[in-house]
């Protein structure tokens, strides 16, 4: 089962991020004086080092929390995480949680989180209490990692058409597409067009907003 960037875009569309494919690699880096002035935090400013760590940590966590048969994790996670980071408050909290996880990995296991074996990553997360922790956006470190790393990744996966399909629902709640599928007896084998539908839904909202303003 292969996740695609399009899956990530469908989930992002549901969250109101349209055009999530256009990624800026160094989203997570601190703004330079120049970008801070123009208010364009991140884009094109830093050297990409911090972003690389955040993305690598998130991808490495995804490889553990996603089912083992999943392919295409790196592209999917990068697209999703970068799209998600357009919401500034989320971006900072996600970055901090990922960096904390990485720091704990070095502390406890002597290596970057992304460089640990999958078993060690799994053990580390469980030892930290992340599996049992309630997701709390500004809680303890385990609660924050649960919210900003594990649940962020699980949301992206199971709200995506491919992730949903694995469980038996091609249009999971959270983004457009259920109006046809609820009437069908089985999952459609051919799912081409589903992203188009999701994107159309995103566009429709823009149109609707402008009508309401009239």
């Amino acid at each position: 089962m292969r996740l695609t960037r399009r899956d990530a875009i469908a989930v992002l569309a549901g969250l109101g991020v349209v055009g999530g494919g256009a990624v800026a690699v160094d989203q997570f880096d601190p703004p330079t004086a120049e970008t801070a002035e123009t208010g364009e935090t991140g884009d094109g400013g830093g050297d990409g080092a911090l972003s690389a760590t955040v993305t690598a940590t998130m991808t490495a966590a995804a490889a553990v929390v996603y089912p083992s048969q999943t392919e295409g994790v790196a592209d999917f996670v990068e697209t999703y995480v970068v799209g998600r980071a357009r919401d500034e408050s989320r971006r900072d909290a996600m970055r901090d949680a990922a960096l904390e996880l990485d720091a704990i990995a070095r502390d406890w296991y002597g290596d970057d989180f992304a460089d640990l074996s999958a078993d060690d990553r799994d053990s580390l997360l469980r030892e930290l209490g992340v599996a049992a922790a309630d997701p709390v956006a500004d809680g303890t470190v385990s609660e924050r990692i649960r919210f900003h790393v594990v649940n962020e990744l699980l949301y992206a996966f199971y709200a995506s058409p491919t992730g949903g399909r694995l469980v038996g629902i091609e249009n999971p709640i959270g983004h457009a597409g259920g109006t046809e599928s609820y009437q069908r007896a089985t999952m459609l084998e051919d799912d081409a067009g589903r992203v188009e539908r999701a994107e159309r839904a995103g566009d429709a909202e823009d149109v609707e907003g402008s009508e309401a303003d009239e």
Binding site: P172, I173, A185
Partner: protein, 547 residues
């Protein structure tokens, strides 16, 4: 410096607020509407359109912008309530045999509780208006189905109801619904096999939800999260009426909490509504006519808080019945698993019901049955709550999703004076006002009707071959969040609070819009009737507005 009302908001909410909003009163207002839910919204729109100067005072905020924030708050554990309910502003107390979860049952904001609602909208039946004459229980309304019938048709256009003429048990109607019904779900077709064999008629559900583009809003695109949030705007919310009212010249002041109504020296007219804004200022809005649309609980609270020397028991309360006869609809449900895919949770609304048992005399309480399209857990939500991940989690989710089916039902509760809303002088909100106190119990007759609903549900599910795994019935039922009956309508000022026009018996220019005027509540979701009464009330108020 922040004040108490401001400080319970999230930083994101405060950011969204324009720096300077004028929340001072409108001079020379003809009509002051309190509350911007469907009742207040429809009245404000109608009256503004007719040329009256209208001001709407709404306790909650405007939820401007897209609905993605609310969508995420709904789906992801660990975030705040999507509509910000439950803070110090919303405190209440509950007594009686059954806890009443008031803050799950309402929303404060422009749009009112329709921001969160499900959007099933059906007309009451003819018998609902004459339960006492026909069956010797409950009360008669001072108006009949025929009186309300043309207003029901208008209300359906106002809310944009998608429906079909396929329900043999519905009361008479002369025209189709404004929008075509949503087609039945795959899950409905599974139920249809059993219902066919059992002689139970299934039919469509009227939904205040666009099956096609309508009223400038998108058609349903299937987010599946209708309750509590529809990100596409396909589900009707009263924000539409508030916007239209504003376009027609009404002024809508959000975060304006009305705390008292003042009357003149004769005690016959209300002269002002005093309200407090987030900056801590208290203002006085005068008007010629006052319409309360605060919902079935806050309408009562405002009247009781407005006690005066002349009216020590509260305003419009010469009958002593303000707050009495609180009713809700009770939920009965049952569900389990089948050995085939049932395709749940694609959409967040239902497409089939049966009203076949609604008019039965045994039990006399109305009851309607629903075939759910959202039985069992949604995998996304399951994943976010799980205490594992990876292949383990996938295995759990696969085992949990795919084969659930369930039926729901709403059951009528008859009016009982001992179920009531009052104010609790011991407990105050963040402005220092006594909070609403709900006293509510479920009587044996209602429990028997719940039992009957369960019996039909079990028959259908067993006919289908379902392993019944859960049931909600007499012992674990809960309210459907339709608070009704607390300012009942009637001809006799001694046994009712408002007259057939929805004007209070005691004060000439004070009107009440909403389900608090229902003498009985049937078993149909109330909002279409609220809307029909609001349209009707607007006509009466229009005639009274000076000039």
């Amino acid at each position: 410096m922040s004040n108490p009302a401001e400080s319970d908001r999230t930083p994101a909410e405060i950011d969204r607020m324009p720096a300077e909003i004028d929340r001072t009163p409108v001079e020379d207002a003809d009509v002051c509407v309190v509350g911007a839910g469907p009742a207040g919204g429809i009245v404000a729109h109608r009256l503004a359109e007719s040329g009256a100067s209208v001001v709407v005072l709404e306790a909650g905020p405007r939820f401007d912008g897209d609905r993605q924030e609310q969508l995420e708050q709904h789906l992801r554990p660990g975030l705040d309530d999507p509509w910000g309910m439950g803070g110090p502003r919303d405190e209440f107390t509950s007594s009686g045999d059954s806890f009443y979860p008031l803050n799950a049952a309402r929303v404060k904001g422009v749009g009112g509780s329709t921001l969160h609602w499900q959007g099933m909208v059906m007309r009451l039946h003819e018998r609902d208006f004459e339960l006492d004459s026909r069956h010797g229980v409950g009360a008669d309304w001072p108006i009949s189905y025929d009186d309300l019938r043309p207003f029901y048709a208008e209300a359906e256009r106002e809310l944009g109801v998608a429906g079909a003429m396929d329900n043999p048990y519905a009361p008479p109607r002369e025209e189709p619904h404004p929008l075509p019904a949503f087609p039945p779900s795959h899950s409905d077709s599974i139920f249809a096999e059993a219902c066919e064999r059992l002689g139970i008629d299934m039919h469509s559900v009227p939904n205040a939800r666009n099956s096609e583009p309508y009223d400038g809003r998108s058609p349903c695109v299937g987010y599946g999260t209708c309750k509590p949030v529809c990100p596409s705007g396909a589900k009707y919310t009263a924000e539409s009426h508030v916007e239209k009212a504003e376009s027609a010249g009404a002024r809508v002041i959000d975060r304006a909490r009305v705390r008292r109504l003042e009357h003149d020296s004769t005690g016959e007219r209300v002269v002002a509504a005093t309200y407090t804004t987030p900056d801590g200022e208290t203002h006085r809005q005068t008007a010629d006519q006052f319409v309360l649309g605060c919902g079935g609980v806050e309408n009562v609270r405002l009247l009781l808080l407005s006690e005066s020397e002349q009216y020590p028991d509260g305003l419009a309360n010469s009958s002593g019945l303000v707050g009495r006869y609180l009713m809700d609809h009770l939920f009965a449900g049952m569900g389990g698993r089948l050995d085939r895919p049932t395709r749940q949770n694609h959409v967040g609304f239902n497409t089939s019901e049966t009203h076949q048992f609604y008019d039965d005399a045994e039990p006399v309480n109305g009851l309607k049955l629903e075939f759910l399209n959202y039985a069992g857990p949604s995998p996304v939500i399951g994943a976010l709550h799980a205490d594992t991940w990876g292949d383990d989690l996938l295995g759990q989710l696969k085992a949990d999703y795919g084969t659930h089916v369930a039926m729901g039902a709403l059951v009528e509760q008859l009016p009982d004076e001992d179920n009531y809303v009052t104010i609790d002088p011991e407990t105050t909100d963040d402005l220092g006002d006594p909070v609403p106190a709900v006293h509510w119990s479920i009587d044996d007759q209602t429990k028997a009707a719940l039992e009957r609903a369960n019996e039909i549900q079990r028959t259908v599910l067993e006919e289908l071959g379902v392993d019944v795994e859960w049931a909600v019935g007499p012992d674990n039922t809960g309210p459907a969040f339709h608070h009704m009956g607390t300012t009942r309508m009637g001809d006799d000022p001694e046994s009712s609070v408002v007259n057939a026009e929805c004007r209070t018996h005691d004060l000439q220019n004070l009107w009440i819009a909403g389900s608090s005027v229902f003498p009985t509540g049937g078993a149909m979701n109330p909002t279409l009737t609220i809307a029909a009464l609001a349209v009707r009330l607007s006509q009466s108020v229009k005639q009274r507005v000076r000039n």
